[in-house]
């Protein structure tokens, strides 16, 4: 691994080796392929199916795809969603043998049962409505919502859940309604609703038990993540209590809380915040135990062992791209983390030898120079590159000179603007006089 760069291979100092030392035991890399079964067992309900289908679409690997589709098929069979069933069968395309083909009998059965249940629910709801019993109407709408959700008609499910709002009497009901609405919105991908319902549920403290609080925080964190507000997302995930446990598996697994929270924090927090809120955070430590790679990479970043940190990130990347919430943010987050690492590396030094830095980050000097150039132009690093000797010199702006320059410039601008203004005033005066004269002539 170290032989591929052109840095002096013999000079292994502490900074260069950066923790990737052969003498230590190899850290836990999950660079081998994701175990689909283990991954799917973390979730339940509809999200399990969606995630499996996502993996099947995205992974390049035939065996993994078939595995995911097989598990999806079995999961769907346990439920009542005939639409999804048809989709999965189409995707499988007969590749898994006759046991995983189109089971028309099952589909018809499910549809017929659905019809019956729907009729029953409608009748019940109508009778409740004529009787005007609030609680029963609420439960009726709730049942309708559940029904539609089970059959995959998410829009109607959402509408029905929202309708229960008018009939909620206790804060427990409100919480239930909000949680349902949040669940459906996450499935639908409409995260603005998620944020609004989280904020509706939060101001009722007496009914909130720690599990619900944790659930709401996760939902809020997901919403922020989708909205690319990584700092807020990180804060929400970090505040999630360990009581979440396995109670929210229909949305998110505790491993995900660790992963999302850890990566967002790394990309957006500064050093003090990282230490206080992540490394010293006892609650969050429970989550980090579940995903030891994230824990290791955060520690490496904090102790400036950049090469190993970036290596962990690379290994995790393939699996993270298969996650339905994180996949389109992976690139951005990784870039931000890498930039932060570069900035943090150069921060304490007056001059840095680019060769050593390149071997610390395991890139070539030319590539490193390009990256640093971009950061300097962006004003994130105050330094200049001596391209001849390949050294980076820190440069601190001279306040005194800058002040003088600004003063002289402001003076000349004032000069110019006031003169122009006086001229314009003069022109206007003549215009007024001309018009007044014209009016007098009339």
């Amino acid at each position: 691994m170290e032989g591929e760069d052109e840095g002096p291979g013999t000079m292994i100092e502490d900074i260069v080796s950066n923790g990737v030392d052969d003498k230590r035991s190899k850290p836990i890399f999950s660079s081998e392929q994701m175990d689909v079964e283990a991954y799917a067992s973390l979730y339940s309900g509809r999200t399990k199916i969606t995630r499996l289908l996502f993996i099947a679409d995205r992974c390049g690997n035939q065996s993994m795809q078939l595995e995911a589709l097989r598990m999806a098929y079995e999961e769907i069979k346990k439920g009542e969603n005939s639409q999804l069933f048809r989709e999965v069968v189409q995707k499988i395309d007969g590749r898994l043998g006759p046991a995983y083909g189109m089971d028309q009998a099952w589909v018809d059965n499910v549809d017929r049962r659905a019809e019956q249940r729907k009729e029953k629910l409608e009748n019940e709801l109508n009778s409740y409505r004529t009787n005007l019993i609030k609680e029963s109407i609420r439960m009726g709408y709730n049942d309708f919502g559940d029904f539609y959700y089970a059959h995959g008609v998410l829009g109607d499910a959402f509408k029905n859940y929202v309708r229960t709002r008018d009939y909620c009497t206790t804060s427990k009901h409100i919480i239930q309604m909000c949680l349902n609405a949040i669940l459906v919105s996450i499935e639908m991908g409409q995260f603005t609703h998620v944020t609004s319902y989280v904020s509706k549920a939060e101001p009722t403290p007496e009914a909130l038990d720690p599990v619900t609080v944790a659930k709401l925080r996760c939902a809020a964190g997901l919403a922020h993540l989708e909205g690319k507000k990584y700092k807020h997302a990180a804060r929400k995930f970090l505040e999630t209590g360990p009581e979440l446990g396995n109670n929210y598996t229909e949305v998110i697994a505790p491993q995900d809380v660790a992963t999302y929270g850890g990566l967002c924090a790394l990309a957006s927090f500064d050093r003090t915040e990282l230490k206080n809120k992540v490394i010293d955070n006892l609650n969050f430590r429970n989550f980090l135990e579940l995903v030891p790679e994230i824990r290791e990479l955060i520690n490496d970043f904090y102790s400036s062992r950049y090469a190993s940190c970036l290596e962990y990130l690379e290994n995790l990347k393939a699996n993270l791209l298969l996650d339905i919430h994180l996949y389109d943010h992976v690139e951005t987050l990784y870039n931000q983390i890498r930039h932060k690492a570069l900035i943090q590396y150069t921060h304490p030094f007056v001059s840095v030898d680019l060769h050593m830095m390149a071997s610390a980050f395991k890139t070539s000097v030319a590539g490193l120079e390009k990256e640093l150039e971009a950061l300097i132009t962006d004003n994130q690093i105050q330094a200049r590159i001596d391209s001849h000797n390949k050294i980076l010199y820190a440069r601190h702006a001279d306040q005194r000179n800058a002040t003088f320059q600004r003063v002289l410039q402001t003076g000349s601008e004032f000069d110019r603007d006031v003169k122009a203004m006086l001229l314009r005033a003069n022109l206007l005066k003549h215009e007024c006089n001309a018009r007044a004269a014209a009016r007098k002539c009339l």
Partner: protein
């Protein structure tokens, strides 16, 4: 109605003291018609008069004489005689009849242009401008003519000395527009882009009720000069005080320039060049081709400037690659030019092919810089005083008071009384 001879006699007699001059002035005004009718006969009378003493009378007769069409043989000697007159006339007498003087000078300019020797007119018109101005802050109708002759004769430096005075009083908006436009062109010729930009901006933002062609042309040049000087031009925003007429219409007339500005802001030479090629004929027809070529070369400079922000030393090869020049030699040429122009402080090491960039060595510690700052401060103080006097003057202006009185907020019964418009004492 007096005969010309009598008039000439009057002139010779009455040109000595101030009272006599005003009496003479009245006589001349009454005699104007007769002078006009006998225009062609007036040449010999001119020789009887001495321009340095009898300036007013000479002026009237000269004006009448030149109002008639002139034959080409007489044109050159006429220009000589007018030039003599201008150089020797008395400023106080001239200022009594400014419009006559202006029309004489304008005809002089026409003659000079007909003879295709604009340089002959530059000197006399400069003296004319000086004599006509009641103060150095006043714009006269002759300023634009003078600048036009300077441009045609390519005597930019003489034009500059007039431009350096600040103008605050303007009589005719059209004169002002032309003055700023020609002034801008002269500054461009001398590569004083900052001043050119100021002058052109004055045209673009001047109060106008309708769009005029001068403003359109000035706007086109303004875009180009902004690009060369600042490296950027924001095509979307005019300053707040631009008239709405200008804001709406100017961009429509200068679309190729706006496109050029947009492709400049991408920073890529290739895009700029392609935009240049597509609009080449339009630039040529506007006589702006040279300026546009300067814009293109300034993009290289801008890119090299950006490099100096990030690098302490850089090889010429790298500069050439980043800025998309073809050879390191060209890069060296550009950097050398920038060093000579004082835009960048650097050292070229030809042995290694490296350029070392330095910081601005100005430490703001020398006596000269202190003097400069002191002068600037005094200028500011003078300007502020001027601003205050203008403000006071407007506050006492009856038209302003009437309008402000009408539109003031009314909090009290007393406020509903009319603002006193006149004080009858």
């Amino acid at each position: 109605m007096e005969s010309i001879e009598a008039l000439v006699a009057h002139i010779q007699v009455l040109s000595s003291s101030v009272d006599d001059i005003s009496h003479l002035h009245n006589l001349l005004k009454q005699a104007e018609e007769s002078l006009q009718s006998q225009a062609s006969r007036l040449a010999p009378f001119l020789e009887q008069l001495d321009p340095s003493k009898h300036s007013l009378g000479y002026l009237y007769i000269l004006e009448a004489y030149t109002s008639a069409p002139i034959q080409t043989e007489q044109a050159s000697e006429l220009t000589v005689s007018i030039a003599n007159f201008i150089n020797s006339c008395l400023a106080e007498q001239i200022r009594l009849a400014p419009d006559k003087f202006t029309s004489v000078c304008k005809r002089f300019k026409d003659q000079v242009l007909l003879l295709q020797a604009p340089i002959q007119g530059v000197g006399p018109l400069r003296t004319a401008v000086r004599k006509l101005q009641p103060s150095s802050e006043q714009l006269t109708a002759l300023h634009p003519d003078f600048l036009q002759l300077c441009l045609l004769a390519k005597c930019y430096k003489t034009g500059l000395c007039v431009l350096e005075e600040d103008i605050f009083e303007v009589d005719q908006p059209k004169d002002f527009f032309l003055y700023c436009y020609y002034g801008g062109m002269i500054c461009i010729g001398q590569k004083l882009f900052r001043k050119a930009r100021e002058l052109l901006l004055n045209v673009v933002t001047a109060p106008m009720s309708t769009t005029n062609a001068i403003a359109v042309e000035a706007y086109k040049k303004y875009i180009l000069v902004s690009l060369i000087h600042n490296g950027q031009y924001s095509t979307t925003s005019f300053p707040k005080y631009t008239s709405s007429v200008a804001q709406r219409n100017l961009k429509n007339f200068s679309q190729p320039y706006v496109d050029l500005a947009n492709s400049y802001s991408t920073g890529k030479i290739v895009e700029l060049e392609s935009c240049f090629e597509t609009n080449r004929e339009k630039f040529e027809s506007d006589n702006n081709l040279g300026l546009v070529k300067q814009v293109v070369s300034s993009l290289y400079k801008r890119n090299i400037q950006r490099l100096t922000q990030t690098y302490l030393t850089l090889s010429l090869q790298d500069i050439a690659n980043t800025v998309q020049l073809s050879t390191p030699k060209e890069a060296e040429m550009h950097v050398l030019q920038m060093i000579q122009d004082g835009e960048k402080f650097a050292t070229i090491n030809q042995k290694d092919g490296m350029v070392i960039f330095h910081e601005d060595p100005e430490q703001y510690k020398t006596c000269e810089i202190i003097e400069q700052i002191d002068l600037s401060m005094q200028r500011m103080i003078a300007l502020s005083k001027k601003l205050n006097t203008v403000d006071e003057f407007i506050s006492c202006d009856p038209i302003y008071l009437a309008k402000a009185g009408r539109e003031r907020p009314r909090f009290d019964f007393d406020d509903f009384d009319a603002v006193p418009q006149k004080f009858n004492m």
